[in-house]
C-alpha cells in the first residue's frame, strides 16, 4: 500500500475538516431519525421515511427551480430555497397522512403500507422527473435548482486559539445542519416537557391504558406520523438542496432505513438518537475518506449498514439484560445491589461493543478472501486477511462468554477485565498509533500506541465500573 497516500488519508481523518464533514453527512440521517423516534415512541413506526424523503427532496428541487421563473431570477434565488423547503415538507406531510389514513383508518398493516410508501416515493419521483425533464437519472443540468443557504460564522472567531478549531467545524454548514441539531433540543422539549409529548409516549407504551385515561390514541398517532413526515421532509430537502444540489433517483440510498435503526441505538431518547446518528455520520464520512485508499470502494460503503445491524444487536442484548436486571431487582428486593448491576451492565455494553467492532474485522477478512485482487493480490490479501480474521475471531471469542452470560462479568472479574482491556488495548493502540503517524511523533508511533492503548484500555475498564467490581469481589472474598 502506498505509504504517503495512506498518511494523507489519515491526516484527513484526524482533522477538523473531517469533523465538519461528519456533521454534514449526519444531517440527512439525524433529521429522519428524529422523525422515526417520534413515530416509534407513539407506537406507529414510520417505515415510509425513505420514500417521504425522496418526495420532499424532489419537490424542493422542482419548486426552487421554478421559483426563479415565477418570481424572477433575483427574487426567486432568495425565496426559492425556502419555497422549496415549505413545499417539500408539505408533500412529506401528505405522504405521512396517506400512511396514517391507511393504517389508522383503513387498518392496513403499518409496515407493509410503509413499504408501499417507499415504492410510491421512489417511483413517483422518477416518473415525474421523466415527465418534467425527460431525464431518468438526475435533474443535474435540466433543472436549475437552488440550495439552502450556508451559515457563515463571524470571522473574528477564527483567530481565537481553541475556538478556531470549532470554528472550522461549524463554519459554512448548511442551515439544515443547524436546524437538524437544534431539532434535538426541540424534540426533547416536545417529548418530555409538553402534555402532548407525554401523551405521545404514553400511547406508545400502552395504547389501551392511554385510551382509558382519556388520551385520544388515534389523534396522537396521526400527529406523530405527521411530525415524522415533517422531519423526513426536512431530511429530504437537505439531501437535494444542501448535501447535493440536484435530485437523483433514489438519492436517499437507505438513509430512511438507517433512520429506523438510530432510535434503537439511541435508547429511544432524542439526545441518544443524536449521538447514534453521529455514529452513522462518522462511518459515512469515513467511507468517503478511505475511498481514495487502494481498497475496494464497496468495503467502506458496507460499514454504516453493518454498523446498523450491530447496533440493533447491542440494543437488543441491552434490552434483554435490562429486563433481566429488573426481574432480579423485584426478586431480591432489599438485598439488590443496584450499583453492582449498573457496573455490570456498563461493562457488558463494553464487551458487546468490542466484539461488534471485531465483526468488522471478520467482514474485512472475508472480503479479502473473496476478492483478493482488490487488496493488492492474493499474496498480500490471504495472509493479511487470515491474520485479521483470526484476530477478530479471537477478540469475539474472548468477549463472547461475557455477552452471553453477563453474570460472568461479576464472577470472573479478572477474566473480564483481561478480555476487555486486551481488546481495548488493541483498538486504542491501533487508533493512537494511526493518529500519531500523522504527527511529528511518527517514528515512535508503534511503541507509543502500544503504551497509550494499554493505559487507556485499563483506565476505561476501571472507569466504566471495573473498579467497583474489584472492590466488590474483594469484599465477597473477605466476607
Amino acid at each position: 500500500m502506498d505509504n504517503t497516500l495512506f498518511e494523507s488519508v489519515l491526516q484527513g481523518i484526524f482533522s477538523s475538516a473531517f469533523l465538519a464533514s461528519i456533521l454534514r453527512v449526519t444531517t440527512p440521517i439525524l433529521l429522519p431519525s428524529l422523525g422515526a423516534l417520534i413515530s416509534d415512541r407513539a407506537g406507529v413506526i414510520n417505515i415510509g421515511l425513505e420514500g417521504t424523503m425522496l418526495v420532499s427532496a424532489f419537490t424542493g428541487v422542482v419548486f426552487s427551480a421554478y421559483a426563479q421563473d415565477w418570481f424572477g431570477a433575483s427574487t426567486g434565488a432568495d425565496i426559492g430555497p425556502w419555497l422549496g423547503m415549505v413545499m417539500g415538507v408539505l408533500m412529506a406531510i401528505l405522504m405521512a397522512l396517506l400512511l396514517a389514513f391507511f393504517h389508522l383508518k383503513l387498518k392496513a398493516n403499518l409496515i407493509l403500507s410503509g413499504i408501499a410508501l417507499n415504492v410510491l416515493g421512489s417511483a413517483a419521483t422518477i416518473a415525474i422527473m421523466f415527465e418534467l425533464t425527460g431525464e431518468r437519472g438526475n435533474t443535474k443540468g435540466s433543472l436549475a435548482s437552488l440550495r439552502m443557504p450556508f451559515i457563515q460564522l463571524p470571522e473574528f472567531l477564527r483567530d481565537i486559539p481553541v475556538i478556531s478549531f470549532f470554528f472550522r467545524i461549524f463554519d459554512n454548514q448548511s442551515v439544515m445542519t443547524w436546524i437538524a441539531f437544534l431539532s434535538i433540543a426541540v424534540v426533547w422539549y416536545f417529548m418530555y416537557r409538553t402534555p402532548t409529548g407525554t401523551h405521545l409516549r404514553a400511547v406508545g407504551q400502552n395504547p389501551e391504558a392511554a385510551a382509558s385515561v382519556g388520551i385520544r390514541v388515534t389523534r396522537i398517532r396521526y400527529l406523530a406520523l405527521v411530525i415524522s413526515g415533517v422531519f423526513a421532509g426536512l431530511g429530504g430537502i437537505h439531501m437535494s438542496m444542501g448535501y447535493l444540489t440536484f435530485f437523483q433517483r433514489d438519492m436517499t440510498s437507505g438513509r430512511g432505513f438507517i433512520a429506523l435503526a438510530t432510535p434503537y441505538l439511541g435508547g429511544g431518547h432524542p439526545v441518544g438518537t443524536g449521538f447514534a446518528s453521529l455514529v452513522f455520520g462518522f462511518f459515512d464520512a469515513l467511507s468517503n475518506r478511505v475511498g481514495s485508499l487502494n481498497i475496494p470502494s464497496q468495503l467502506p460503503q458496507m460499514l454504516p449498514f453493518l454498523a446498523t445491524v450491530l447496533a440493533l444487536v447491542i440494543y437488543a442484548l441491552q434490552a434483554q439484560l435490562t429486563s433481566r436486571v429488573r426481574t432480579l431487582r423485584s426478586a431480591e428486593g432489599e438485598g439488590f445491589d443496584a450499583v453492582f448491576w449498573k457496573a455490570i451492565q456498563r461493562l457488558s455494553v463494553l464487551h458487546m461493543f468490542l466484539a461488534m467492532l471485531a465483526v468488522f474485522g471478520v467482514i474485512i477478512s472475508l472480503s479479502m478472501f473473496a476478492a483478493p485482487n482488490g487488496f493488492d493480490g492474493p499474496e498480500t490479501a490471504y495472509p493479511v486477511g487470515a491474520a485479521v480474521g483470526a484476530f477478530s475471531l479471537a477478540l469475539i471469542g474472548i468477549n463472547l462468554p461475557f455477552m452471553l452470560h453477563v453474570e460472568r462479568i461479576g464472577r470472573q472479574v479478572i477474566a473480564s477485565a483481561a478480555a476487555s482491556s486486551l481488546t481495548l488495548w488493541l483498538y486504542l493502540g491501533l487508533l493512537f498509533g494511526l493518529y500519531l503517524r500523522t504527527t511529528s511523533l511518527k517514528d515512535q508511533s508503534i511503541v507509543l500506541g502500544i503504551i497509550l492503548g494499554l493505559v487507556a484500555g485499563i483506565a476505561l475498564w476501571l472507569a466504566l465500573g471495573g473498579q467497583y467490581l474489584m472492590r466488590h469481589q474483594r469484599r465477597e472474598a473477605s466476607g
Binding site: 417505515i47 391507511f102 383508518k105 383503513l106 387498518k107 392496513a108 398493516n109 409496515i111 407493509l112 403500507s113 413499504i115 408501499a116 410508501l117 417507499n118 415504492v119 410510491l120 421512489s122 417511483a123 413517483a124 422518477i126 416518473a127 421523466f130 415527465e131 431518468r136 437507505g254 432505513f257 438507517i258 429506523l260 435503526a261 434503537y264 475496494p296 464497496q298 468495503l299 460503503q301 458496507m302 449498514f305 453493518l306 446498523t308 445491524v309 440493533l312 444487536v313 440494543y315 437488543a316 442484548l317 434490552a319 434483554q320 467482514i363 472480503s367 473473496a370 476478492a371 483478493p372 485482487n373 482488490g374
Partner: protein, 706 residues
Amino acid sequence: MNQRHFSRHLPLIAFSVLIGLGVMFFITYRVFGGSWETMTNAPNYVSLIIVNALIGFCVLLFVVELRWDALRVILTVIFALLLGGLVTAVFFLDAANKYVQGEFRVQVVSDAEPLIDMGYGDRMTELFNNPNVDEPVKEVSYQFVGREGDEIAVLAYVEDRNADLDMAVALLDANDEVLAEASGATEEQLRTFRRYLKTENDAVIESFVLPADGTYSVVARMENPDSDARGEATVVVVSEGGESPVDMAYNAPVGATFNAPNASDPITEAAYRFAGSRGDVISVLSYAARSNVAVDLEVALVGPDGAVLAESTGSTAEQVAAYRPNLNSERDAIIEGFTLPASGIYTVRTQPEPLTTSMRISETVSQTADAYETFLLGPLSRQNRWVIWMRDALTLIMLGLAIAIVFRAEQFSLGADGQLYFGALAAGALVLAFGDLPKILLVPVALLSAATAGFLWGLVPGVLKAYLGANELVSTLMLNTVAARFYEMVITEQLQPPDAGFTTSDWFASNGLLTPIIDVAGDQVTIAVYLLIILVLITWVLIQRTPLGYEIRMIGANIKFANFGGVNSKRTIMLAMAISGAVAGLAGAHLAMGIHRRLILNISLGLGFEGVVVALLARNNPLVVPFTGLLYAYLRTGAQVMERDANVSSEVVRIIQAVVILLITADALVAFFRQRRITRRGTIELDDGSGEAGGLTASAQEVAHG
C-alpha cells in the same frame, strides 16, 4: 375431500377450469398472432403451449384456492391499474400539442405568369449577344415590386472585366413610363458598389426613391446593340431598406416551425407576402412539412388593402388527392381557385388551429388508451416478449414463495434481495470455477450452493430476531445493502475479466446453464419452469403438511398462543427466515444461470420488494403465488413495452405496485364490503372456510383447517 364435499365444489372447479382453459387459449392465440402457420413454424411451439397450459393451471389454482378472495385480488389489481392509467394520462396531458407544433410550408400555386421576376438583392444574370443562337439577347426586362419611399439602386454590370460589354439600364413604372436611366458609372459609384460594379461600362441608377407602391420594371440593354461584345450581364436591384416587400413567388414553398419545443421565442403564426396580377387564378396551400408532422393549420388570404379575401381551415379528401404530395392530410389548409381582384401585394397568413378543451381531452384519452393497450397486451405482442414475461415470472414466483414463507410467520423480513445476491454469487462463482464439470453434476451443485448461501444469509437476521429480538425489518434491509456491496465488490475486483468494457463476470460455460426449453432468438425459458413446479409443491407441503409449517402458521396467527401451545417459536422463526433465504437464493441462481448467463452488476434492483407484492396478492398461499407472480411479471413486462413504444416511464408499474400493497393490506376495506354483503343477505356464512380473513393474518380457522 369426500364425495359430498366434492360435488359441492363442482361448480367452482368447473368454473375455474373454464377460466384456466380460456386464459391458455387467449395467450396462445395472441402470442402467435392468431395464425396457425406462425405457430407451427415457431420452434419449440409445443413447449410454449405446455407452458401456457401451466399458466392456465395457475389461474385455476388461484380461483380454487382463494374463491371470493380471488375476486378481491382481481378488483384490487383492476383498481390499481385504473389509477395507473390516470398516472399514464399525466404523460399525455400535452398530447394535443402535436396539433399546434411542427414544421409547415406555405405555397401559392398558380399557372399565371408571375407578376415579378425578382426581389431586392436577387441577381438576375443573362448571356448577352451569344452568336451561337438565332436571336442573340440584346435587351432584358425584369419586374419587381417596391413600396413607396423605398430608396433603391438599379445596377447592370458585367462580372467578366474583359467582356467589354457596355450596359445601359432604365427603370420603368407599371405604365412603362421611364422613371430613370443610366448608361455608365462614375469612379465614386464604382467604389460605392464595388461588390457589383467592375468597370465604367457598367450602368447604375443610384438613390432612386420609388414614388408609389406597385410593380416596376428594369430594362437592361447593350448600349451599342451592334457591337460584337458578348458576355454575361447581371441585373440587381439593391434597396437601402434591405427588405424585400415580398417573401415568396408563385409555386415556390416557404415555411418555418410553429411552437418549436426548445425555441426561446417560438413562432405561433406566420405571414408571407407575394405579388399578384389582376385575374391570376391561384390556390393557397398551407401544409405540414412532412407526413409525420401533425400540425393542424388554417390559412387566410389578405388583399393589398388588408381585407381578408378568403379563409380555410382544412381540405377535403379530393383536394388532398389533387395536391399530393404537398397536401398530406385533411388537417392541411387550402384556398382553391381564387381569382385575384387586383394587382398588388397579397399576404398569406397561416397559423395552427387553436386547440379546444375537448380536443385536448380526447387526444389525451386516446393516446393514454393507446399506451395502456401496449401496456396490457404488450407481453403477448411478440414471442420474445412472452419469453421475457415468463422468465421474469419465474424469478418473481421464487421470490414470492420466499416472502410467503416468512410472512406466513408474520415476520416482516425483506431480506430476499440480499439472499438473492448471495445465491447468485455462490452459484456463479461455482460455475465459473468448475465450468468443465459435467452438467448433470454442476447444475445441481450450483443450485444447492445457491440455496445454502441464501439459507445462511437468511439465518443471520433469523437468529438476530429469534434470539435477540432485533427488528427483522431493519436488520434485513441493512443486510441487503451489505450483501449488494459485497456482491459488487467480488464482481468488480475478482470476477470481472481484465478486458471487459463494463462490470460483469465472464459468460458461464454452457455446462453451468439451465437447459433451455424454449429459445426465441436468444431469449430463453429454461427447465427452471419444471424445477419451479417442484419448488412450489415443496413449499406447499412445508407450510401445510409438516410440523414446522404448522408451527409457522401458529406463530403467524398468534405468537403468544403458539408459545403456550408448546411451539419453540425462536427456532421456528429462525428456520422460517433461513428457509425463505434458501428459496430467495435459488431465485438468484435462476437469474445468474437461467437469464443473464453471467454475473452482472445490479442483478436484483429491488426485486425483493416485488416479491412482497406477489406474496401479498397471493395471500401468502404457495399455491396461489405462481398466478400472482405471473400477473405481476406480466405487468412489469407490459410496462417495459410501454416505456419503449409509448415513451411512458415504466415507473408507472411501481406506482401500481404501491397502490396494490396499500389496498390489499387495508383490512377495513374488506370489512366495509363484507358488512354490506351481510346486510344484503341477512345471514353470515360461517362454514365458508375460505381465506376471507384478509391481510397477513391467516385466521386461526385456517390454521385449524390446514
